[in-house]
Point group: C2
């Protein structure tokens, strides 16, 4: 079941309701993406009426942009937490592992990742593409704080994109023993593979 939709016929402050719809939007847009998700689907997920969600956000596009930016924001925050926790040594393999772990821990909630991927692939909607560039730039800048040279940051981001794509295509839930994709999944996710098999 979805976590905490409407529980009572109680009224809610606009602010709280907005936050709740935003969460519901994350879940809904994670499947379907921008074009494939109706405002009604978001409304159902949030337990409110469809006209209300468009009134809160003005437009489906605005809603998606907020959902997208919040999702990427969450990811950025996870990296920042690692960087702020204690001094980061760019030469340390251990510190690099901590950064990687921050990401794979995030992977357990597929929704952020899926929303991010959907935002990244919708380059045909100018506003979404612009948001994607801005957010990706932000994530890159955050990871630069590690002190790594640009190539290492690039490779780190690239690895993350591979994980996103693999999750997007549900690779962890479809491991077929002889399949080359299983080899790829195994060597991409490593120990985390087992944790990703149950669909959200």
């Amino acid at each position: 079941m979805s976590t905490m939709t409407a529980e009572k016929v109680t009224r809610m402050s606009a602010e709280d309701r907005r936050a709740l719809v935003l969460q519901a939007g994350t879940r809904a847009f994670a499947h379907g993406g921008y074009h494939g998700t109706s405002t009604d689907a978001v409304a159902k997920e949030a337990g409110v009426s469809q006209p209300y969600v468009v009134r809160i956000f003005g437009t489906k596009l605005d809603l998606f942009l907020e959902v997208f930016e919040a999702s990427v924001g969450r990811i950025k925050a996870a990296f920042e937490a690692v960087l702020d926790e204690r001094p980061f040594d760019p030469e340390s393999e251990d510190d690099k592992a901590r950064m990687g772990l921050a990401y794979t821990e995030l992977l357990r909630d597929h929704d952020f990742l899926q929303v991010m991927m959907h935002g990244f692939s919708n380059g045909d909607v100018p506003e979404i593409a612009a948001a994607a560039r801005r957010c990706m730039g932000g994530v890159f800048a955050t990871i630069q704080r590690t002190g790594w040279d640009d190539e290492k940051v690039r490779d780190f981001v690239a690895y993350g994109m591979l994980l996103n794509v693999m999750i997007s295509m549900r690779a962890p839930e479809h491991l077929v023993p002889g399949d080359p994709l299983t080899v790829l999944a195994t060597c991409a996710f490593g120990d985390e593979l087992g944790l990703l098999q149950s669909p959200a």
Copy 2:
């Protein structure tokens, strides 16, 4: 104007017309993806009527699947060409560069890449996700023919995914001097960056 739509009112063999609509579908689905592209958009691009394109392929989903598989097939073929050209040395940096070049040359036609990305991100449509897994497995297996160990293949694929994402969000066409994304784009695309700036 779109390249080579209908040129004459001449009839065409069903086979030829099918191939032509498939090409048009690639262009159309490259923008918009599965959910964001109407069969009518494909029809317009191909210069035929909308009902005709669904009659050729049966269903919009079937059309997309064919377009997707053809696109990934093209990419696989490019790698295979490099591998078949002459013996591949897994230790050679030069041979690795040849593989990379095969991909970046493909990047000039954004359409394949975008279609591929759209297929990869549409995990909510089971048939598309299944095709994505199958195709990704195929590409991985092809690259394994280099003789590289799995980790090296994985990193190669990951790098490719980063390029896909960057192109999807139109990064090469939006280089802003101070922007961190510009740094990422520069060190991801290298010399090829200049060639990618003009939108298809």
